[in-house]
Amino acid sequence: EPEVTQTPSHQVTQMGQEVILRCVPISNHLYFYWYRQILGQKVEFLVSFYNNEISEKSEIFDDQFSVERPDGSNFTLKIRSTKLEDSAMYFCASSDGTVNTGELFFGEGSRLTVL
């Protein structure tokens, strides 16, 4: 069964460092997303991406964040200068977008720990 894969599964970084989280969405999917879950809190929407550009972003997704689809298969989330409060589980998701019903396919997540 096709699945969304994410790397790394866990990254530990120092505050102020740049981090890139990688995702390989399901191959025929057209919409890509990043969500995150801070420990003990809700899963929160960060950004959606379609047709090589951001289609929506939340208030969390400020100038420190960027997304890219560099090669037609990977979908990356970059955090330019990490802060302690960026520590969270980051989930990549994709959908084929034929009907927008909210049914997304999520990866296993990348846990980011900022020290």
């Binding site: 969500y35 809700k42 929160e44 989930f91 019903t101 909210g102 049914e103 990866g107 296993e108």
Partner: protein, 112 residues
């Protein structure tokens, strides 16, 4: 942000009995409501959804009920099985955009 709220963070139920999970929402502009299931060390997995124009959707052991006047939905799992032990997230999709709003989740433990 309290658009989607799940109370009673955990639920324990005997195998074979019914599990009922509840979810309340505040935004009248949600188009679809969904339940996702999450096992430890995995991402959320879509379970079942319901359109805002329906009041019930059933898929095997899982049924979702929507009460729009009360802004309330529930998930019924019957009969519950040990493999159903997981965290269940209620989520909602607004009209015209693709930002899912999640609840905090309910931990369900099914006791064999």
């Amino acid at each position: 942000d309290q658009q989607v709220k799940q109370n009673s963070p955990s639920l324990s139920v005997q195998e074979g009995r019914i599990s009922i999970l509840n979810c309340d929402y505040t935004n009248s502009m949600f188009d679809y409501f969904l339940w996702y299931k999450k096992y430890p060390a995995e991402g959320p997995t879509f379970l079942i959804s319901i359109s805002s124009i329906k009041d019930k959707n059933e898929d095997g052991r899982f049924t979702v009920f929507l009460n729009k006047s009360a802004k309330h939905l529930s998930l019924h799992i019957v009969p519950s099985q040990p493999g159903d032990s997981a965290v269940y997230f209620c989520a909602a999709l607004p009209y015209g955009n693709n930002r899912l709003a999640f609840g905090k989740g309910n931990q369900v433990v099914v006791i064999p």
